[in-house]
Amino acid sequence: MTEVRARGVPGGWGVAMLVVLAAALLVGLAVGPVSTGIWPIASSALAHVGLGHSRLSATDSAIVWQLRAPRVALAALVGGMLAIAGSAYQGAFRNPLVDPYLLGAAAGAGLGATLAITESVSGGLLPVAAFIGASVAVFGAYVLGRSVGGSRSTGTLILAGVTITAFMTAIQTFVQQQHSDTLQEVYSFLLGGFSSATWHDVWISAPYIGVSSVVILLHRRVLDVLSLGDEEAASLGIDVRRTRLIIVVAATIGTAAAVSVSGLIGFVGIIVPHTVRLLISTSYRAIVPLALVLGGAFVVLTDILARTIMSPAELPIGVVTAFFGAPFFAVVLRTTRRIG
């Protein structure tokens, strides 16, 4: 008989996705008002790890490694995080429509950032305020959901998230209206983007994103068990409540870290995992790792478009993710039969 095994990530797809990500990163480094070409950048990158010597001038090197590289790296981190968090939420809640902002992370981060801006807290603390806001919102949603519906109902948890989101958004709008002078700054955070990305942003968000991605990756098989429903997962020896809590906390911490350095970027957490589902596999053993890689590539590519289409002006990245992502996803939906 054919060998009995779980499919996991099909080798070809895994390699293809990594190539797409590498290509996206390289293009991201090469594209900008100052043209450097791809090969000098590649040689400079290799020189950084001690292979050969760089063919990039000092000025070009500064542009590539101090301006573009942190931006590209941050886009890859944030995109990967939002996509893997989306897949984790969808699996933990067994609901294909939930996204990383489900439990109020976006609204909480928005409120935190708004308060930081209107109260003129130092710019470096804005990510911290957004992170705290996102965490408080999700913690609030979780406590509310638990106190009302116990652990059994994922529906009450989602409703609690909606409630917290509405409440936080109301406060955020109120505060924003009180300080119309900072409206533009608040608005540009809410729209999201990487125009002010620095290596500092990369270093402060990477540990959270790294740890939560690893935790979610380790749960890829367990997410498949959860797809059998709470009762059957429990009868197979899984402590469903604790498992769901671990996955949701990991996804939320990573999301909060991503939001705090990039603002709100919608759609990635839904579209990327579903693209993997529709094109490749509905097993979380494939969805989780591939969403991480594809999410990174997708956001790096959309960020390139965001900064080049109207150059030197920038489009908000959320506009680009939706404008190109929606038709792409529509095509994927129409040309495949699988529904997740």
Partner: protein, 254 residues
């Protein structure tokens, strides 16, 4: 061996099972009968440790409440009435999920796990379907895949909640024959909630008849199935025919 002592279950403020005591010997097949709402499913869920209860339930001498979920899952395999069968999972992947209690929390399957799944698949004659998605299987094939997953769990106790409710007459008989064979080769203890009184009487060694959460009769089918009892329990009008040591319960228009 399953031992229930003074087990009672409340769902909300409703007492669904009241002070029930019973035992099931190792290798025995006990059929649970009773009208809708009698507590059959709840009793199965209590044994599997999925609802909280008062009293004590021990499987193979181990208390269910004091065991971890994983320990319970190594003792008891449960086939629910409507199993969740994600249509895109292959038969191989689905059966491998049955190995979950034997796989460390964050690990993936070992070679032993794959071999156990392979044995279960071979035992249920699903070799041809290994790579087929569950969504492409017929009702009977799907039922066998579900049984294979339970068998891969390698637990000594098999709990079946209405195992044949979605199958036609022939498939019902085949499924029950299969359960009986599996019980034979793997020395399984089987408890099944069943709707069809005749089939239950023919396959189970012993019947436990429930009404409103209490045991109203217990024993071999020939001894307990009577026209009076069934009309009292189910409000049904039936004829009970005994022939060559078997009992057939036939619905009869009033």
């Amino acid at each position: 061996m399953i031992e229930l002592r003074d087990v009672s279950v409340k769902l909300g403020s409703n007492r669904v099972i009241g002070s029930l005591s019973a035992s099931v010997e190792s290798g025995e097949w006990v059929g649970l009968l009773g009208p809708n709402g009698a507590g059959k499913t709840t009793l199965i869920r209590a044994i599997a440790g999925l609802v909280s209860y008062e009293g004590s339930i021990a499987v193979e001498g181990r208390s269910i409440v004091e065991s971890s979920r994983r320990e319970v899952a190594k003792l008891i395999a449960l086939v629910p009435q409507k199993p969740e069968t994600p249509p895109e999972l292959t038969v191989a992947e689905y059966v491998l999920l049955g190995r979950t209690p034997h796989i460390a929390y964050l690990a993936t399957e070992s070679r032993d796990d794959r071999l156990a799944a392979e044995r279960a698949i071979a035992r249920l004659g699903l070799q041809k379907f290994v790579e087929r998605p569950l969504g492409s299987l017929s009702g009977g094939e799907l039922q066998r895949a579900v049984l294979a997953r339970a068998l891969a769990q390698e637990a000594p106790v098999l709990l079946l909640d209405e195992p044949t409710s979605a199958l036609d007459l022939g498939r019902q008989q085949q499924a029950l024959e299969l359960v009986d064979e599996l019980r034979g080769d793997a020395q399984l203890t089987v408890v099944s909630a069943m709707h069809d009184v005749s089939l239950a009487g023919q396959y189970a060694d012993r019947l436990l008849l429930l009404d409103a959460g209490d045991v109203v009769a217990e024993g071999a089918a020939v001894d307990v199935l009577s026209e009076e009892l069934i009309s009292q329990l189910y409000g049904a009008s039936v004829r009970v025919v005994r022939e060559n040591g078997s009992v057939y319960v036939l619905p009869k228009r009033r």
